[in-house]
């Protein structure tokens, strides 16, 4: 058992004994360290002004990832190198991303700038990224700027971030790895009292025991949602259990049959595997949150949290994913759609926690499409999320799995449409009509700030039609605006 949090900052190991269950990393930086370079813009992980970098050894490589410090718990920094904007100037010389941002007039009011600098710092250290505007805007989706219109920032990224990394962090990377190795232990962490604590078990058994003792504790995975309970709902969460150090819980195993992932596998860590299941799924993954959110946020958390607007569950349900749950004395698996009982209610018993998810790979005669409709393409929550897996034999759909998000209080299958689609002929659009109409009885969507009920229904119908058009393959041109834009760019390049 360890009763401290340890991490590296500025080359030094920092060890903290007093870490509250809900203390955020941003508060630690600004209020305790009085390091004010990192800014708070929104306090909910949507603007990126508070972005800092966390360095960890991933697959043997020292990797820097951007995170939103406003919704990251301080304790979650354990075992990492914490890099903030204060750490980049070395020997009074600006870091290359700082110098280039300055040279290309990438700041106006300057308030968002440290956050951009830190995301660019992580891109600077990323390996194997294609030098393109698309890469840059994907990295920057989680950083809002209200002044510049982004053009100079994107230009600065293109100029500064695609050369071989050569800065103080690469020079001392061996030393950093040694330090990180020293920090990595398999001891459970527990800071506080039995009434009020931050904890981080190192094993599943440890978790089961601790959660069994404290079924009222809050399980924290990436904190991209729990963080908002703290900063926005002002909830007091006296007992937090961070899952991020549990041995093996972040595994991602690919096989011919599908992908088995642990509950703490992040969106970032699963993106490549998801893209191999389906390019649509890969695109969806890239449009979930931002780089910062995907670096912290976990697929298991997105599910276990039971949010009605989670973007991943409809796609995973259409693919036939199954969920694994465990507690101190039980172990079970269930179809993902059965986990979501009602708005805000999931099939999870006291003391029980999600351990993993299996996502089957579509077979040769199956086609998968998914669509996310939102006001803004990047880092927005869908108004309608639709996913389709059609099993096709001789131009006929013999089986369909269809799931929607934003159409009900939970991610939900369209059972009427699925049934009506059996036997539909791809080449004959008139055979699709019954299934499209069935959506009107499958769902009764609501009106909210993202869309009206009418628009949701109209779009749900359009997306089923679109999926069938795309499966049919007769559409000469692309029928997706984003795909078209990318195709145009590729042609231009």
């Amino acid at each position: 058992m360890r009763d401290t949090i340890r991490f590296i900052k500025g080359g030094e190991i920092v060890e903290l004994h007093d870490v509250g269950p809900t203390e955020t990393l941003l508060d630690y930086l600004r209020l305790r360290r009085k390091e004010t370079g990192t800014k708070e813009g929104c306090g909910e992980g949507d603007c990126g002004a508070c972005t800092v970098a966390l360095g960890r050894v991933i697959d043997g490589k020292l990797t820097y990832q951007p995170v939103n410090s406003c919704i990251q718990l301080l304790g979650m920094v354990d075992g990492a190198e914490l890099v903030t904007v204060e750490d980049l100037v070395q020997d009074k010389r600006l870091h290359p991303v700082q110098q280039t941002m300055m040279d290309l007039h990438g700041s106006q009011c300057g308030f968002c700038t440290p956050g951009f600098i830190m995301t660019l710092f992580t891109l600077y250290h990323a390996e194997g990224e294609a030098k393109s505007r698309k890469t840059v805007t994907e990295w920057l989706a989680g950083n809002l700027c209200r002044c510049t219109g982004y053009r100079p920032i994107v230009d600065a990224a293109l100029e500064a971030c695609f050369n071989v990394a050569d800065d103080a962090f690469t020079w001392r990377s061996n030393e950093t790895r040694e330090q990180l190795k020293k920090l990595a232990d398999s001891r459970d962490i527990f800071l506080g009292t039995s009434e009020r604590f931050f904890s981080s078990p190192a094993s599943l058994d440890g978790l089961a025991a601790l959660y069994g003792q404290h079924p009222d504790a809050t399980l924290v995975s990436g904190a991209t949602d729990v963080g908002l309970w703290i900063t926005k709902h002002l909830r007091d969460l006296p007992k937090t259990i961070w899952l991020g150090r549990i041995e093996g819980l972040d595994r991602v195993e690919e096989s011919e049959s599908g992908i088995l992932m642990g509950a703490t596998a992040t969106f970032a860590a699963t993106e490549a595997a998801m893209t191999r299941i389906s390019p649509d799924l890969g695109e969806l993954w890239k449009r979930i949150g931002s780089k910062q959110v995907r670096a912290s946020g976990t697929v298991g958390g997105n599910i276990a949290n039971g949010s009605p607007i989670g973007d991943s569950p409809p796609a995973l349900i259409a693919l036939g994913a199954t969920l694994e749950l465990q507690s101190a004395d039980t172990d079970r698996a269930l179809a993902l759609e059965d986990f979501f009982i009602d708005y805000g209610k999931q099939d999870r018993l006291p003391g029980e926690f999600v351990t993993g998810l299996f996502v089957p790979r579509p077979s040769a005669n199956q086609v998968f499409h998914c669509y996310k409709i939102s006001k803004r393409f990047d880092q927005d929550i869908s108004s309608v999320m639709a996913a389709f897996r059609f099993t096709i034999v001789d131009g006929r759909i013999i089986d369909a799995r269809i799931a929607y998000g934003g159409m009900a209080g939970t991610p939900k299958r369209a059972s009427g449409a699925e049934a009506a689609l059996k036997g539909a002929i791809l080449e004959d659009a008139s055979t699709w009509a019954a299934a499209i109409d069935a959506l009107n009885t499958d769902f009764t969507p609501l009106t909210d700030m993202r869309a009206s009920a009418e628009y949701r229904m109209e779009t749900a119908r359009a997306l089923l039609a679109k999926a069938l058009m795309e499966t049919d393959g007769t559409a000469a041109e692309s029928v997706r605006v984003l795909a078209k834009r990318e195709a145009d760019h590729d042609r231009a390049a």
Binding site: G37, K39, D46, M449
Partner: protein, 779 residues
């Protein structure tokens, strides 16, 4: 065009002015060392103030307030209500209708009722949730239609009227009419509202405030505390964005900080949570526009009748100027022979809408573009042809408010150049071809003009002061009444002052805007910051320099023509001195080396009552060409290419001006596409965080984004180095995006006018598509 002789081009080569120099704080920005108010070192014992409100109330009488549990909450030092205000409970810009703390009634969702003062911000926030406030509800007036029915206004109607629109309509070959909605906009400055008040000796109060209008904060705080203005000092070094949202809206938070500091005797800081900020503060006005236009067979406008119904919110705030500016820009760049342009300033039980970059102008111009597009659709001609046909020109160049558009030729030349560089006509063919073979995706193209009037239409605001000192070591202290919100004002003014003294820029120390240095200033707004403050600073520097020259002439028995300032030196005939040497000598000779410069814009004669005179010193021009693709099944949209040509006169700093143009365009694009403010049926704002309110992100910017400065003859008016204002005009370049979307929608039913509302969200686009499809089927 033949160029008139520009005096500024024949003087000595410029060293600093017109150079693309970095923002003065650029290095501090990228290193995170530029202090914003929340980064300032707090005095020992600094307390934190958080506003509290009745979270379920929209409109009603407060029947009881129970703050017992709030006071008893951890860390709470004081809880303030309207009873604790020693002076006047008002933080308005002048109409007396904005309570700092609610007094007996709730006027809108999010109105502040009390303020908690606690040891930490977290403690104060948690304490606010423990209030029990009972409100007897009154059915709220929420929409334009509600307010029209109830006849509630914040100000009387106003209008411009020329000729006889009634006769003009009768004479027109065709009359078109329609109605559409233009949404508001949240400022989303990255640094939220913040103020820190520090009590001074003998009842004084120093307020660090993130505001575009330090003088108004000073006066408001004094009024609220019930002390003379002279006891209050407001200071702001930089804001993390303003955009109009900190012109009047900063007053309340500065007042609360000062009230708390007054009550506790300790330094107090207010920093709004983002959600509170978005719920409590005003936004860009949203409108319904009802329009009728009569035109001849070619598409030339005979007469217009436009009515602008603005939702002003619960109080006047800046709605007078905002709605006037809507009318001033309802012509866009087009000549209306007969016109009735009417404005209704509706009072609704919602947050009080306020200044936002463009200040009502964008809504006026968008309505004009809507009429032009309608004429194009009905006549079957290209919208660009209809635009050019109706442009102001040599004969038809008087606006509906009587001011001539003297620079119409600049407008024509700029648009002609853009037409060429954007390859408009060949792309028009490409778009048509694309739409012919694509059933689901449709493209649209539009090229729209910008003409924006520069000056405050409230005449007295067109003045500025600066305070410049030359020290005996040759360094310069620069201060002026303008505020820095990222627009590069400080840098531009510093360049002008360095130029004047012939010193390198590092000799010029830029200092925070402070009401004790330059008093009685106007807000940094209306794009006028540089025009006014750089001129005032230039005059101050010139005065000091003039005194030095007189002194040197006497000392060296030479004429002023023999004396040259440059490279931190002063050349007198063939002798060279450092400026420091000259300054020391002047000091020994008892020459004053400090001066307060003052500038008032000449030539402005607008009289609102009689609707006569000249409201603007000049116009800034621009043009944008945008191409978009929409998905007619889902309403999704991408902006594929944008070309911009914009007139900044002779730029003081091309890098900064380019940044203003690009940033303004993107902000305007957000307003017209993704940024949707949604109130529910009870009148509660539902989009009060970036999770639900979507400003553009990097990937929303077109990959092909060509932005150029118009290379012309400079400002014909004697502005500072013949530059033009650039803050607001670029916002309206984004009208091209909205018109291009409209063009794409219109392609599915030629001859039909789409009912596209702004913002053109996927849902708004689908509504317009559906409308056309149903009309197509029925016709």
């Amino acid at each position: 065009m033949t160029a008139p002789l520009d005096q500024s081009k024949v003087t000595a080569p410029l060293k600093h002015v017109r150079k693309p120099l970095a923002h003065d704080s650029a290095e501090m920005h990228v290193t995170g060392t530029a202090p914003y108010i929340d980064d300032l070192t707090e005095a020992v014992g600094t307390l934190h103030v958080v506003p509290g409100w009745a979270r379920s109330a929209v409109r009603g009488k407060i029947s009881s307030i129970d703050l017992t549990d709030v006071s008893a909450s951890d860390g709470v030092v004081a809880v303030l209500t309207s009873d604790d205000i020693p002076g006047t409970n008002d933080c308005s810009s002048g109409f007396g209708d904005d309570p700092v703390l609610a007094d007996g009634e709730i006027l809108f969702y999010g109105q502040v009722v009390f303020a908690v003062v606690a040891e930490t911000r977290d403690q104060a926030r948690k304490a606010t949730l423990k209030a029990r406030i009972e409100v007897a509800p009154i059915p709220p007036i929420l929409t334009q239609e509600d307010a029209e029915a109830a006849e509630t206004m914040v100000l009387p109607d106003y209008q411009f009227r020329r000729g006889s629109p009634e006769t003009g309509m009768t004479a027109a070959e065709e009359v078109l009419s329609g109605s559409f909605r233009i949404g508001g906009q949240e400022h989303f400055y990255l640094e939220g509202q913040i103020a820190m008040a520090v009590p001074q000796e003998a009842g004084g109060m120093l307020v660090h405030t993130s505001t575009q209008h330090p003088t108004e904060v000073q006066h408001t705080v004094a009024k609220v505390l019930g002390v003379p203005d002279a006891l209050v000092t407001a200071e702001v070094r930089r804001m993390g964005g303003g955009f109009g949202g900190k012109e009047s809206q900063a007053n309340q938070w500065a007042s609360l900080a000062a009230l708390a500091a007054h009550a506790t005797g300790r330094a107090c800081k207010v920093r709004l949570d983002r959600d509170d900020d978005m719920i409590m503060t005003g936004k860009r006005h949203d409108f319904r526009v009802d329009w009728t236009v009569g035109h001849d067979g070619t598409g030339k406008i005979r007469a217009v009748d436009m009515e602008f119904l603005a939702r002003c919110g619960y109080s006047v705030d800046l709605s007078l100027g905002v709605n006037d500016r809507t009318l001033f820009h309802a012509d866009s760049s087009y000549f209306y022979p007969d016109a009735a342009i009417r404005s209704r300033r509706l009072k609704t039980d919602t947050c009080s809408n306020t200044a936002f970059r463009g200040f009502g102008g964008p809504q006026g111009m968008l309505a004009a573009e809507r009429m032009i597009d309608a004429i194009a659709i009905k006549t079957g001609r290209d919208p660009l042809d209809i635009r050019k046909l109706n442009f102001y020109d040599g004969e038809r160049n008087i606006t509906p408010y009587g001011m001539p558009v003297e620079e119409y030729a600049v407008m024509h030349d700029l648009i002609a150049q853009l037409e060429e560089t954007s390859d408009y006509w060949s792309r028009r063919d490409d778009v048509r071809d694309f739409n012919a073979v694509n059933a689901v995706l449709k493209k649209g193209l539009a090229l729209t003009p910008v003409k924006f009037g520069i000056s405050f239409t409230l005449k007295h605001l067109n003045q500025a002061g600066a305070l410049v000192h030359l020290y005996t070591d040759g360094s310069v202290h620069l201060n002026h009444g303008g505020t820095e919100m990222g627009q590069g004002l400080y840098q531009k003014v510093a360049q002008v002052v360095a130029e004047e003294f012939g010193v390198t820029l590092e000799k010029v120390r830029i200092t925070a805007t402070n009401t004790s240095k330059v008093p009685n200033t106007g807000p940094t707004a209306a794009s006028s910051g540089t025009d006014l403050n750089a001129m005032a600073a230039k005059l101050a520097a010139q005065e000091i320099k003039g005194r030095l020259i007189s002194f040197l002439c006497e000392q060296h028995q030479c004429g002023p023509e023999a004396i040259h300032f440059g490279d931190n030196k002063v050349l007198i005939g063939d002798q060279s001195f450092t400026l420091a040497e000259v300054a020391k000598q002047a000091h020994m000779a008892r020459i004053q080396m400090s001066h307060a410069g003052f500038y008032a814009t000449p030539g402005i004669t607008w009289d609102r009552e009689s609707v006569t005179g000249r409201p603007f010193y000049y116009f800034a021009f621009g043009g944008a060409c945008a191409e978009v693709t929409i998905d007619t099944m889902t309403g999704e949209m991408t902006v594929d290419r944008v070309d911009i040509l914009h007139d900044v006169g002779h730029s003081l700093n091309p890098a900064i001006d380019l940044g203003q143009i690009e940033g303004g365009f993107v902000q305007g694009m957000g307003w017209l596409t993704t940024e949707e403010l949604v109130w529910d049926e009870k009148g509660r704002l539902r989009t009060h965080a970036p999770s639900t309110y979507k400003i553009p992100t990097a990937s929303d910017i077109p990959e092909e984004f060509n932005v150029s400065l118009y290379d012309g003859n400079g400002n014909p008016q004697e502005t500072v180095y013949r530059s033009k204002a650039v803050g607001e005009p670029p916002v309206m370049l984004a009208n091209a995006v909205f018109c291009a979307i409209n063009d794409a929608v219109a392609s599915i039913a030629p001859g039909q006018i789409p009912n596209l509302d702004a913002p053109a969200t996927p849902e708004a686009i689908m509504k317009a598509v559906r409308g056309l499809r149903s009309r197509k089927v029925s016709s």
